[in-house]
């Protein structure tokens, strides 16, 4: 099976920022991403959990993008503009994909 190098970018960000982040990602020409709810965690602002929350201001989401390595810089620049002043984590890992033309 042919495998191709890719980058997996995961941005954990406050849920009110989700739309802004995905708009910024799309503006770079990247149309593929996955948004996942984050159940809870802990950080510099203390512990939090999604349980029982009714305000959209208290949740976090993970936005995951798998892209060709040459698109990484554009994506990070766009994402960083949104994430920079906010609570969140940006991580990049090496990945392999099977159908390179889709990324």
């Amino acid at each position: 099976m042919d495998m191709h190098l890719a980058k997996r970018v995961e941005v954990i960000i406050e849920s009110p920022l989700e739309r802004r982040l995905t708009d910024a990602i799309e503006a770079t020409g990247i149309t593929g991403y996955t948004v996942m709810p984050v159940h809870g965690g802990s950080g510099r602002s203390g512990r939090w959990t999604r349980d029982g929350q009714i305000s959209p201001g208290r949740g976090m989401v993970a936005v995951i993008c798998v892209i060709r390595p040459d698109r990484l810089d554009a994506l990070l620049e766009a994402a960083f503009d949104v994430v920079e002043p906010h609570i969140g984590v940006v991580s990049i890992t090496d990945a392999h994909v099977l159908r390179a033309e889709r990324f």
Binding site: E14, P16, L17, R19, R20, S45, G46, R47, W48, T49, R50, D51, G52, Q53, I54, S55, P56, G57, R58, G59, P85, H86, I87
Partner: protein, 327 residues
């Protein structure tokens, strides 16, 4: 005074207050009791829809009177004005930085719809009728406070607090505002006939859902307090109990100027005394990311909400009865 004590005593042993206390105590005792997020949101949608629909049906039944426009104008003005008072009071009582003070001020100019629902429930149990359009007053009070708080930040020369068109859209078309106004309009259009057709869903189970919802609020409030130990000083906690009374006094003044009934005045006072924890926190995370949720959410949900629920609402109703008279 006797009336306040009697109302407070009745209120404190009502199922909704005891459900809140159960959640609060469970959280402080570090119980693993939780309400799933999706269920909590579903209950919140149910309560907003029910209260909006019933308010609209009330307007359809009793008609629109001259005080409607005055009430909406007064409610909007209160929401714009209260953050300035809250901001100044915080400056006097605490050493919180500018952005925290502005974010807290936004919460206290906006409203807590659950406090409003709880006050409506107490009024119903006391047989006091309020104007149906008070639901619309609640809706118009959600957003203006956010703009006042952001203006306060901009005036002080901070780089934070910029508002783009996307944020305006999110503030004005916040889900709770859309649902409240939308169900109010449906209730007004379909009237009592419409209400009767869905009463088994939105009237009969209402108190039970409110109990479960307040159980969840108790859990969230208790866990918020536990998680923010050390962030809130005595001055901030004092603010969380003084500001509702200041807001209540402003609400009473507005109710007198507009000419609301006892029930309507009690609700406008309650709205002015309450602090947001749904719409405003989301807006603050976008507009003032440096402001700390452990300050503004804990004050709003962990201090002011329980204060209003247990002590404030009986006081506000008794004051409305004393000043405007029982009707």
């Amino acid at each position: 005074m006797g009336n306040i004590v009697s109302l407070a005593a009745d209120n404190l042993i009502s199922p909704i207050i005891l459900a809140f206390v159960l959640g609060f105590v469970a959280a402080l005792a570090r119980s693993d009791l939780t309400i799933p997020e999706a269920f909590a949101k579903a209950m919140s949608i149910y309560l907003l829809f029910a209260i909006g629909f019933k308010g609209g049906a009330g307007v359809a039944a009793h008609g629109i009177d001259a005080t409607l426009v005055g009430t909406l104008v007064a409610a909007t003005a209160l929401s714009f004005a209260l953050p300035f008072i809250a901001f100044a009071l915080l400056g006097a009582l605490t050493k919180l930085p500018l952005l925290d003070r502005a974010a807290v001020a936004a919460h206290y100019g906006s409203i807590s719809i659950v406090t409003f629902v709880a006050a409506t429930s107490v009024l119903e149990s006391e047989g006091i009728v309020a104007e149906g359009y008070m639901v619309a007053a609640a809706a118009v009070m959600e957003a203006p406070a956010i703009l006042s708080a952001l203006w306060l930040v901009a005036r002080k020369g901070s780089k934070s607090g910029s508002v783009d068109s996307e944020l305006y859209r999110e503030i004005l078309l916040n889900g709770s505002i859309v649902l409240l106004v939308g169900s109010f309009v449906i209730g007004t259009v379909t009237g009592e006939e419409g209400l009767a057709s869905i009463a088994p869903f939105i009237v009969d189970p209402f108190q039970g859902v409110l109990c479960l919802f307040l159980l969840d609020m108790g859990l969230v409030a208790g866990r918020g307090l536990l998680g923010s130990r050390g962030d809130l000083g005595a001055g901030a906690i004092g603010f969380g109990m003084i500001m509702p009374l200041v807001g209540a006094a402003m609400g009473l003044l507005a109710a007198l100027l507009v000419g609301l009934s006892t029930g309507g005045a009690a609700l406008l006072i309650t709205l002015s005394a309450s602090a947001s924890y749904i719409a405003v926190p989301a807006a603050m995370r976008v507009a003032l990311p440096e402001a700390r949720p452990s300050i503004y959410l804990t004050l709003s949900l962990g201090v002011t909400f329980p204060f209003n629920l247990a002590v404030g609402i009986p006081i506000y109703i008794a004051v409305a009865e004393a000043v405007i008279g029982s009707n």
